[in-house]
Amino acid sequence: MTPPILKVENLRIAFGGVAAADGVELEIAAGEFMAIIGPNGAGKTTFLNLCTGYVKPATGSVLFEGRDITGLSPRAITRRGIARAFQIPQLFAGHSLLENVMLALAARHGIRQVLAPLDREAYRVEGRALLELVGLETAAGQPVSELPEGMRKLADIALALALKPRLLLMDEPTSGVSAQEKYALMGTLMQVLKTEGITALFVEHDMEIVRTYAGRVLVWDSGKVLASGAPEAVLADERVIRSVVGAV
């Protein structure tokens, strides 16, 4: 049996006495597409922050591909192969969409160049291909600050994909995306993840999306994993309905 791509042991962190992670234990196998659901303030985003080193846990450890990454910086963790997409898109406001993606590509291929231009044939081709994949090719030349929120979310995901990660963590990828575009986005995303062999974990509020796409669901409440398993089973659970559906 292959070891889990991500393994979390006894993770704890509290902010002002409120536990955001309270002894979390979790394993994700390579190739999984897992959703995290739970009421607001349950600690879902904090969990992503803990996994990527933005917040350091009080106790516990995070193992990526069997190696301890606890306490490493977001940069070091990103370099090991974990990419992240954010709830609020994190883009470079002064640059065009294509330039944003090319910066991410340069980060992967080697940023330490001071005389050769960023805007080069190889990056343009790869960048445009990536934008086409997420359906943004027509907006390539636009400043990202002028894009509507849904497109900014996609751009944010494209930056993460440009890194060719082995594990992708996404914070509400479909929030801000219009209802009819949500399914198209998730469909494309699934396709990309499958062909690139990327394991992914995503925080989600839309239960229909979770039901349709997630391979496994993790229910988070008050810093604890309340339930975990196949979507149909978990979403039918009485406690889960009270915790999640009741709160949403």
Binding site: T45, Y54, F86, Q87, I88, Q90
Partner: protein, 299 residues
């Protein structure tokens, strides 16, 4: 050693008191308006010029020299009443919410303009009027002679720390300022007239700087170069204390004053460097100053 240190210490603390006035004003303005005012030292210099001019006039007009004492506060109040609203309404408000580099540049431009205006209005020679120091006289404690005026300066600084704390905690204006510092947008939504709070806070900052300058003028006088020197010292002290911290600025001024005395005693050539070395040392350990705190960005 104590015999030799004591007069130095009083001197150092009196100096620290003066820097404190400038630093706490700078800090206050920064926390409310979110602008680092490079021209803040100019208010110190202008306050000094105004008070010396007023005192010189009082003495030459043959009025009682005791009038030079209220003149210190009155001149600072006049400077603040004129320049505070004019600078805030005329220039600073156009920069709210703009990049910090731009705000610093605007205030730097104001600094340059004030530098030359001072020369035009007050001339380039150094001015001096020590009637207030003479009036207070000296006292002998343990065989050492002290200037009473310096003791008064130290007491005044303590008084201002207490007064500012009371102002912030117990008055309506203080609470409004605290609210605006915490969240300007919410404050505005709650119906607080943030424009007036900005103007009042800035004017208070100008007054504190001008008052510091006025108080300094009877001991060291005033000359071109006073403003640029005051602002860098005030920066250092405000940063050591943590920007926006009243007690922090007081403690920082105290620390700088004492370390400066030690430097004068042990290594005089390093005296001028002390405030900056203390600042570098403090910020190396606590990047946001002794009392400052970090705001973590939400992602």
């Amino acid at each position: 050693m104590l015999q030799a240190l004591m007069p130095l210490l009083v001197d150092g603390l009196a100096n620290a008191a003066l820097i404190f006035f400038v630093a706490v004003g700078l800090s206050l303005v920064f926390s409310v308006l979110r602008i680092l005012n490079v021209a803040h030292g100019s208010f110190y210099a202008i306050g000094a010029y105004a008070s010396v001019s007023l005192s010189l006039w009082i003495v030459s007009a043959g009025l009682s020299p005791w009038l030079t004492l209220p003149a210190l506060a009155v001149s600072a109040a006049i400077v603040a009443a004129i320049l505070g609203p004019a600078v805030e309404r005329g220039f600073l408000r156009w920069t709210y919410g703009r990049p910090e580099s731009l705000q610093i540049l605007v205030t730097f431009a104001l600094f340059l303009i004030f530098e030359d205006l001072q020369k035009l209005v007050f001339g380039v020679q150094s001015l001096y009027q020590d009637a207030p120091v003479q009036l207070f006289g000296t006292s002998e404690i343990g065989g050492i002679l002290y200037l009473n005026y310096q003791l008064v300066l130290i007491a005044l600084a303590v008084l201002v720390v207490v007064a500012l704390r009371l102002l912030m905690s117990y008055t309506r204006f203080g609470k409004l300022m605290v609210a605006v510092v915490a969240d300007p947008e919410v404050s505005q939504a709650l119906g607080i007239d943030t424009r007036r709070v900005y103007m009042a806070a800035f004017t208070l900052g100008v007054f504190l700087a001008a008052f510091g300058g006025a108080l300094a003028s009877p001991t060291v006088g005033v000359a071109p170069g006073t403003g640029p020197e005051a602002i860098v010292l005030a920066f250092a002290v405000a940063a050591i204390g943590g920007l926006g911290q009243i007690e922090g600025a007081a403690l920082a001024a105290l620390v700088v004053g004492v370390v400066r005395v030690l430097a004068i005693y042990f290594a005089p050539e390093f005296e001028a460097v002390v405030p900056y070395l203390v600042m570098l040392a403090v910020l190396l350990v606590r990047p946001y100053g002794l009392f400052g705190s970090v705001r973590v960005r939400r992602i």
